[in-house]
Symmetry: C2
Subunit: 270 residues, 2 copies
C-alpha cells in the first residue's frame, strides 16, 4: 500500500459512521469505544469538515444525539445524515402512505406522515419488533398491492452489540423481497444518493472526502463507489476476514477512530 501521506492527501471532509465507530450498543445503552470521545473532539477542532452518516434506524435522530452528547460526544442533530428523515422526503415526494415495520424508538420520525390506507411498506431495524406476526403483516400488505413498493432504511446484514452480533434490517428486507418477488428501494448507506446528500450537506466533493466506518460493504464499498476514499476501523462489527474481502478493499485499515484521526490530522489537507 502507498504511504499514508499519499492515501490521505487532499482530504478536506470526513464522514463518520456512528455505531461501531463512536460507540458499541448494548442492553445497557451506549458504550463509547475507548478514545473515541477525545478523537472526535480533536477532529472537530481541526480544519477538516466533519459530518455523521448513519444507518441507525432504531432510534430517532434527536434521541440518538441526546444519548451521544450525554456520553461526551460533540455532535448535534443538524450534523447527522440518517435514513428516516430521508425516507420521509421520499414518501412525501411520491405520495406514498407507508405501512411501518419499524422499532417504536423511531416512530416519532414518521409523526407527520399519512399512514392510512397504505400503498407501500417501510422497513427499518425493528429489532424485537421483527415478530412473525409483524413481518407477516408487512408481507400481506405488499401482496395486496398491485405495484408493491418496499422501502428499506439501509440493507445492513448485522451489527454488533456487547451481547453479540444482531440481525439488521437487510436480512428482513431480503425475506420480504424473496416472499413477494420484488426488489426493495434502499434509503441509507450504501445507496449513492444517500452518501451524496451527506457530501452536499458537508459542502465537500467526493474526491476530497473520506468515510470512516466499521462495515466493509455498506460504509467502505458504498463510499468508494461514490468516488470517496474510505477507512475501515477494527471496532464494531469489523471481522478479521474483512481485510481480505473478495470485492472491497479499504484505502486503509485502522485500529479505531483515534488512530484514524491521528493519521488524518498528520497527513490530510496537504
Amino acid at each position: 500500500m502507498a504511504a499514508w501521506s499519499e492515501r490521505l492527501a487532499g482530504v478536506r471532509g470526513v464522514l463518520l459512521d456512528i455505531s461501531g465507530v463512536l460507540f458499541d450498543g448494548g442492553e445497557d445503552g451506549v458504550i463509547p469505544i475507548p478514545g473515541s470521545v477525545e478523537a472526535l473532539a480533536r477532529l472537530k477542532r481541526s480544519q477538516l469538515k466533519v459530518r455523521f452518516c448513519t444507518n441507525e434506524s432504531q432510534v430517532s435522530r434527536k434521541d440518538l444525539v441526546v444519548l451521544l452528547r450525554r456520553k461526551g460526544f460533540d455532535i448535534s442533530e443538524g450534523e447527522v445524515t440518517a435514513p428516516a428523515p430521508a425516507t420521509c422526503l421520499v414518501l412525501k415526494e411520491r405520495g406514498l402512505r407507508p405501512h411501518l415495520l419499524i422499532h417504536d424508538g423511531i416512530r416519532s420520525e414518521f409523526d407527520h406522515i399519512d399512514t392510512s390506507n397504505p400503498n407501500c411498506v417501510v422497513i427499518a431495524d425493528a429489532g424485537e419488533s421483527f415478530s412473525y406476526r409483524n413481518v407477516n403483516k408487512a408481507f400481506q400488505v405488499l401482496m395486496e398491492l398491485e405495484n408493491p413498493v418496499l422501502i428499506s432504511l439501509g440493507k445492513g446484514r448485522y451489527y454488533k452489540q456487547t451481547s453479540g452480533l444482531m440481525l439488521d434490517v437487510g436480512a428482513y428486507m431480503k425475506a420480504l423481497e424473496y416472499a413477494c418477488g420484488i426488489e426493495a428501494q434502499v434509503v441509507g448507506k450504501p445507496a449513492p444518493e444517500f452518501f451524496q446528500s451527506a457530501l452536499w450537506e458537508m459542502g465537500v466533493e467526493a474526491h476530497e472526502a473520506i468515510m470512516i466506518g466499521d462495515d466493509i460493504v455498506g460504509d467502505v464499498g458504498g463510499a468508494q463507489q461514490c468516488g470517496m476514499r474510505a477507512l475501515q476501523v477494527r471496532t464494531g462489527k469489523f471481522r478479521p476476514s474483512d481485510e481480505h474481502h473478495p470485492e472491497v478493499k479499504a484505502d486503509g485499515y485502522v485500529d479505531d477512530l483515534a488512530e484514524a484521526v491521528d493519521l488524518l490530522l498528520q497527513h490530510a489537507h496537504q
Copy 2:
C-alpha cells in the same frame, strides 16, 4: 395446448402435494377443499399408484396423517414423503448436530438426533416461533461456525391459510443466507433428490409420473425439472398470475383435485 389424452398418456403414478391440494389450513385446523376427500378415494381405487409429497414442516408426519384421517382422507404415514425424516437421514449421514429453528409441532421428528454443541442450523416453517430472538440465535450459531451449514426444509415463499397468506420457511432461509453470506441446502421440494426419493418409494419412473400441486415453482417447476409432468390446481396458494409465470408452464391447470382426478381416470394409463 395438446388434448388431455395426449398430455396424460402413459401416467402410472401420481404424486400429491398436501396443503392447498387436499386441505386449507386455518387457525381452527384442517379444512378439506371441497371434493378432495372423495377425489382421493377414487384415485386410490384406480390402477394408478399414489404417493404424497409435502414440504409440511410445522407438524410431524404422524400428526399430519392423524389430522387428515380424521377428516376422512385415505392416507397413511408410510405413503408420505416429508422433509423432516429426510433431513434426519442427512444429519446422521454427515455427522451433523443441528441447532433447530423449528415449530414445536415437529420437534418429535428430531427426538433421536444429537443437538449438543451444534455444528449446523436446521430451519423449518417455524410460524410464530420465527421471533427476532429465535432467528437471531440461529444467525449467531451460524456466524460462530468456521464452515456454516444451513439446512432448510423446503424454500417455499408463502402458503395460504384461511386467514390469509403466510410467510413460509424460504423467506427466513433467505434472511439467514444474506446475513451470513452463505447458501442453504434445501431438503424438500423443489430439490431433485427429494422428488426422486418419492418416485423411488412409489416405484414409478419420472416420465410415467405426474405431480399435482398448488405451487407453480416448488411443485410444478420442481417436478418438471426431474422429468415428471405436473398439474397446478387453482386452490391453496394458486394466484391467477401463476398461469402466466415467466419461467414455469404447467402441463395443465385444473380447478381442484377433483377435476385433476376426473381427467386422470379418463386419460391416464392408456
